[in-house]
């Protein structure tokens, strides 16, 4: 099979025109192997502006959740890492909702609308499929994703009763594994404050 030797030419053009992008990529690749859970320097959680909500009678505002611990999950139903984490989130909601935890899904599509991730009916179907009873906001313009500086699916942000971000992280986890237990401890810690 004849094969064109394009790689050297591409390497030169890419290095010339895309040097910054290449550096960004390498940094991102390296960063993906960093620990997935972090303690964040406390700071006020920004207010989201999402208008389309599911499992909520009306749009939820961060300000009205003062006095409750808020756990944000940035996800999308097409992401296996996200949906495999959902049982743990459903469990947190079941255990801690009545003790002061509000779990909120921020559903942020990866692709443009032609992929179907923006459709409310598809999100509703996913909520039923994964037995998700906690509120979910459609973040179709990625406004809240950008507001919180999120980079990966799934990601998590834990906000204390005063509206301060205390913990953040990303990556799939499962019922009762080490990461689940770490988030569980953090939730209980903030509920006791």
């Amino acid at each position: 099979m004849h094969r064109f030797a394009l790689a050297p030419l591409l390497a030169l053009s890419a290095a010339a025109a895309g040097g910054l992008a290449l550096e960004t990529t390498s940094r991102a690749l390296a960063q993906s192997r960093q620990p997935l859970l972090g303690v964040r320097e406390p700071g006020p959680a920004p207010s989201w502006k999402n208008t389309s909500w599911l499992n909520a009678g009306r749009p939820l505002a961060l300000e009205e959740l003062r006095g409750r611990v808020v756990f944000l999950n940035f996800w999308v139903f097409t992401c296996g890492n996200c949906t495999r984490t959902v049982p743990s989130l459903v469990d947190f909601d079941r255990k801690y909702r009545d003790r002061g935890l509000t779990l909120i899904g921020i559903h942020t599509p990866e692709f443009p609308p032609y992929a179907g991730e923006h459709d409310r009916s598809n999100v509703e179907r996913a909520l039923r499929q994964y037995h998700i009873a906690y509120p979910n906001a459609q973040d179709n313009d990625a406004g809240t994703w950008d507001l919180y500086g999120i980079r990966y699916w799934p990601s998590f942000v834990l906000i204390d009763k005063r509206g301060v971000i205390r913990y953040e992280g990303y990556g799939e986890f499962h019922l009762n594994d080490g990461t689940y237990q770490l988030w569980d401890r953090r939730i209980r810690e903030l509920l006791l404050e």
Binding site: F4, L29, A115
Partner: protein, 139 residues
Amino acid sequence: MRAAWAAVTLSGAKGAISGHAPFAGFRVTLILLLAAACSGERGPGAPVRLEISPAGEHTLVTLIPASHIKLNARLKPALELADGSVLRFDTPRLTADSAYFAEPPAAVLPGRHSRVRGTLRASVCENDAPVCRALVLEL
């Protein structure tokens, strides 16, 4: 920016998929992302490469992931063409959990083409990192 790789645009690779007439009998392979190779850092290499080959009257475009990458099958990779149409990559062979492609997905581009231009989107997951990222490349 949605994800780290969403920031990557290989403007230097525009129009880089090109062949010589006659196209038939040739297979053109383009390494889409030369990041690791060009940066001089040790890394897992290009996440995907695109291969085009003739398929009868049409052109078969195959998206081949690097060995450390899984392609999300629940969000079929897409090639957005300049005329507004969108090609979706697919293959029936999936992993047992149906979450990822078990072989490189392909799409048929109508007509014979020796180059592909457009925006390639794929949802990619590293084998050892429990997250998905959006990969966006301008061809």
